[in-house]
Symmetry: C2
Subunit: 106 residues, 2 copies
DNA sequence: TAAGCAATTAAGACATTAGTTAAATGTATA
DNA sequence: TATACATTTAACTAATGTCTTAATTGCTTA
């Protein structure tokens, strides 16, 4: 189940912070690591987990690897779950469908 | 940070399923446990964690303990995080504020 | 090819989580 | 009080998660 991996990915504060950083702009693995107190390998594992969950994508660019956020997947999963739990939130539901129809439009 | 406990609580499939069950109706601890393959003590720990996170509330009723969902806290946290990550989703943002102003209205 | 930097993978230590069964606590009732 | 049932807590084991440092891989450039 895809939601399993996504919620597991979101269960870590550093990983949520990575997503917040990437919400503003693309960043290389090193740029991300420099924002945290932990080692680069630790960040690399977090990034790998986020990518497996489908929340970020990576692209090698020369000697760097650039990461970017997959907003659709994140927003769809969170709002989808919120609706499962809180189904009477009709207006929220409509807006989310609208949102989902955009392509990575953030 | 409150969001930490909430996302940690959501990182478990059984706990998300408990929330889904409670979204339809109040249930006693035993009724919840009967819906899962695991033991009652295991479910009791899941419920305790959900309550610590503020996602459910409990009330002793005679010899039973009845659990109910705190929809506000769940929806606010999820949509709040989604907006932090996806701030340009203006319409979604507006609807959520409307939703938040209702009291447990689900 | 060799040297240097970016990033990932490997190996291992440590803490946390999630389940089990057994015991304890709380309430209802004979 | 004694018994029964619902629930939680305790004690323990097994599995997972998250770091660390060291080694490896990949690209760039001299």
């Amino acid at each position: 189940m895809a939601a399993d991996r996504i919620f597991e990915a979101l269960a870590s504060r550093p990983r949520r912070e990575i997503l917040a950083y990437l919400s503003a702009q693309e960043l290389t693995a090193g740029e991300i690591a420099s924002r945290f107190a932990m080692s680069a390998p630790a960040i690399s594992r977090h990034l790998s987990l986020l990518e497996t969950a489908g929340l970020v994508s990576s692209e090698r660019r020369g000697q760097y690897v650039v990461y970017r956020l997959n907003k659709d997947n994140l927003v769809n999963t969170l709002t989808g779950f919120a609706f499962e739990i809180c189904p009477t939130a009709g207006p929220l539901k409509r807006e989310s469908r609208k949102l989902a129809s955009r392509k990575q439009g953030g």
